[in-house]
């Protein structure tokens, strides 16, 4: 075993690194040598602690002391006081923000842990292809409890009391959905798991299926017991081959153990699950379109009512829930509704998984209690913005959602607050934008996506979105007019009001949301022919600063279209008519002689 008596862990996450954690490490190494402690104390750089706002962070083992906001000049004191004399450096300890008390006993160190993993409880812990590991972590216990100790009504009641709401987007109460389906009278009912994760940047459903497929199988079986269905279907996109493979393995194992099939756990209840593959159409995440796709028809939505709870798959009552929603169910049964509903906000209970993507340091999957602020998500868990750039906004809810700006940083995230801020929970993709992102171009990007994905059934969605897109294209090309802004708004509202399904009703949201928060950027494009973020190529203009140009001819030689002319050792010139704004000259110039005008 190790010869070291103590270990110093220095956070080397990108956030802490930006605030001198490397320098701190160097000072530690130097001073430990001076104090002749280098053989006893090991200094290690770690990954992100997820507490970046308090960084740089230094943790001392084995006593688990947690120092915050450490500077290189504090190192000497930490060594002298803590390492040599065994006295903690009080002023660097973390203070509880509410009681203002210093935290001495950092055992467990939970105060900085902003995440709690419920839906992701087994992801990264168990071997997803080994049912025994799932069983060892209380797997199928909830099913056992439901079948042997609870009536379907009492299970539904427990889910209702837990306050669990659909994690796929709209946030409909799950227990209520189950209750409605359970009351429908029919000879056959179905449980459907919606694994058609389509939001760009969202990958939590895939990760749950890849990491913990049994939790979804168990929950679907419980749902079948509650609503009176003996058949389940997982609608999963064919683009998720690994998730499909793990699900198949899990289904086979569950059958082999008798946890699917007839007479589950010796009771009269039987249930089995089949897979249905989707071709990756965004609209098929909408439940009626999803059902049509499973039936072999075109993936087009139909009018609700009738709701799937009355007439769904093959005209039979069908309960559709999202993967993450299902993954919460076994925990609610095992730990009780009261335990679950103690987490979260008044109307949004439990946790939500978010997929962090975009200009953020810690791209990945996180699960936080409802009510966590956007600031905590972005700047603590997410480790802040890449390259130390300025935060601009977060896109939530995918192509159906909108922007959260700096004004919303301290808003607790839940269904209601996101809606009030003009966006939505959606499936939980969070795409972080920095100062270099052009909001008009982002709106255009999402619209392009919806345009591709619109099924074409409703005119406002099929044609209206196309027109919206064309207007945005005009603006980003520098040909926008002021009245275009009113046109965008008017058209957006028509599309929202006149489309049949959620896709059309929400498709103009990115436009409306960027207009609400960043109208000045639209105006800059239109009035000044300028893209404030420098992203819209058509509006860029590269020019040579004559004073700085040495006439080295590097730009002349690298320009792919021959737009640059000039004599050796004399200032060069860019012909704007030929320039394709590729920016190569700008990058290559060693004298900063090329500027963006």
């Amino acid at each position: 075993m190790s010869d070291y008596n103590m270990q110093i862990l220095i956070c080397g996450g990108t956030g802490c690194k930006a605030s001198e954690s490397e320098e701190i490490r160097n000072v530690f190494n130097d001073l430990l040598g001076e104090y002749l402690l280098e053989d006893e104390v090991q200094v290690v750089t770690t990954g992100c602690f997820g507490f970046c706002e308090k960084g740089p962070i230094v943790k001392v083992l084995p006593d688990n002391t947690f120092y915050v906001h450490v500077t290189p000049s504090d190192v000497d004191e930490i060594i002298r006081e803590h390492l040599v004399k065994g006295r903690q450096v009080e002023r660097l300890l973390y203070r509880d923000p509410h009681s203002h008390e210093v935290i001495h006993d950092s055992k467990g160190m939970d105060f900085y842990k902003k995440q709690i993993r419920i839906a992701l409880r087994n992801c990264g812990f168990i071997d997803p292809e080994n049912i025994e590991e799932y069983i060892a972590r209380d797997g199928y216990m909830a099913l056992g409890k439901c079948l042997s100790e609870m009536t379907p009504e009492s299970v539904i009641d427990e889910i209702k009391k837990s306050g669990l709401r659909g994690r796929g987007g709209a946030g409909f109460p799950t227990g209520l959905k189950w209750e409605i389906t359970s009351r429908s009278v029919a000879d056959q009912k179905y449980v459907v798991c919606n694994a058609d994760e389509g939001d760009p940047g969202a990958f939590m459903d895939r990760s749950i299926l890849e990491g913990d497929p049994h939790s979804v199988i168990e929950a679907m079986t419980i749902c079948g017991y509650c609503i009176g269905a003996d058949k389940g279907l997982v609608y999963i996109r064919a683009e998720y081959p690994l998730a499909i493979q793990r699900l198949k393995v899990a289904l086979d194992q569950a059958r082999a153990y008798g946890l699917l099939g007839h007479n589950i756990l010796g009771t009269p209840f039987g249930f089995d699950i089949e897979l249905r593959y989707g071709a990756g159409a965004f609209v098929c995440g909408e439940e009626t379109a999803l059902i049509h796709s499973m039936e072999g028809s075109r993936g087009e939505p139909t009018v609700k009512p009738p709701f799937p709870a009355e007439s769904g798959y093959l005209g039979k009552p069908t309960n559709v829930n999202n993967v993450e929603t299902f993954a919460n169910i076994p925990v609610i049964i095992n730990k009780g509704a009261a335990w679950f509903s103690a987490i979260g906000t008044e109307k949004s209970k439990g946790t939500k998984v978010f997929a962090l993507a975009g200009k953020i340091n810690n791209v990945g999957l996180i699960e936080v209690p409802m009510g966590t602020t956007l600031r905590e998500v972005v700047f603590d868990i997410g480790g802040g913005i890449k390259g130390g750039k300025k935060f601009k906004s977060v896109q939530t809810g995918g192509p159906s959602g909108g922007m959260l700006t700096t004004a919303s940083l301290d808003t607790p995230i839940d269904y209601e607050n996101l809606q009030a801020a003009g966006t939505m929970m959606g499936s939980g993709g969070m795409i972080v934008m920095d100062e270099d992102d052009c909001m008009v171009a982002i709106a255009k990007y999402y619209l392009e996506f919806t345009l591709e994905e619109s099924c074409g059934k409703c005119t406002p969605c099929r044609i209206g979105n196309k027109r919206l897109f064309e207007i945005l294209e005009k603006i980003t090309a520098g040909n926008g007019k002021e009245e275009d802004i009113d046109k965008l708004r008017m058209l957006s509202h028509v599309i929202k009001d006149a489309s049949l399904c959620g896709l059309g009703q929400s498709s103009p949201n990115p436009v409306l949301s960027t207009l609400a928060h960043f109208e000045d950027e639209y105006l800059a494009h239109i009035k000044q022919g300028r893209c404030p973020a420098g992203k819209c190529k058509a509006l860029l203009k590269y020019v040579v600063v004559e004073d700085k140009c040495t006439g080295c001819t590097l730009c002349f030689r690298t320009c792919p279209v021959g737009a640059i002319t000039g004599e050796r050792r004399a200032p060069h010139f860019i012909d704007q008519a030929l320039c394709i704004k590729c920016g190569i000259c700008f990058e290559k110039c060693k004298f900063d002689a090329i500027e963006l005008a």
Binding site: R117, G124, Y140, N263, E367
Partner: protein
């Protein structure tokens, strides 16, 4: 496979599996059994986790280290893939990020064999449902 036909059966199997795991975890240094988990979700595999897993299997065999190497799902640290979790007997699990062959070797040579911590371990930044 023997089918589970009652809740009591399920509980019995759970206890069996748990005690098997416990035995593995508490086998102390006398019978030093190391547990290694490799994050093998899409994000991990895309970053080379398969290669790292086979390297770890080969290398532990080569050095005669008694190790159980399994795959697991996404640990959430997609920015640091491939991720590897190592549990030494009697110690808390430690997660290492950005594991390439070189770092995998370092994990074996320094952490598993000597018990020294190495740079780039990722602190657990979430609570579990059991806390």
């Amino acid at each position: 496979m023997e089918k589970i036909t009652s809740l009591a059966d399920l509980k019995r199997i759970k206890e069996q599996v748990q005690s098997k795991i416990k035995l593995r975890e508490q086998s102390a240094s006398a019978e030093k059994l190391v547990q290694i988990r490799v994050g093998m979700a899409t994000c991990g595999i895309a970053s080379g986790a398969k290669e790292i897993m086979s390297f770890l299997i080969e290398e532990t065999e080569h050095q005669a280290i008694d190790a159980v190497i399994t795959q697991t799902g996404c640990m959430g640290y997609c920015y640091a893939e491939p991720t590897v979790e190592v549990t030494l007997p009697g110690r808390q699990p430690v997660i290492f990020g950005h594991v390439n062959r070189e770092r995998a070797r370092e994990i074996i040579d320094r952490y598993i064999i000597k018990g020294e911590l190495i740079d780039g371990m990722i602190p657990v930044n979430f609570k579990t449902i059991d806390e």
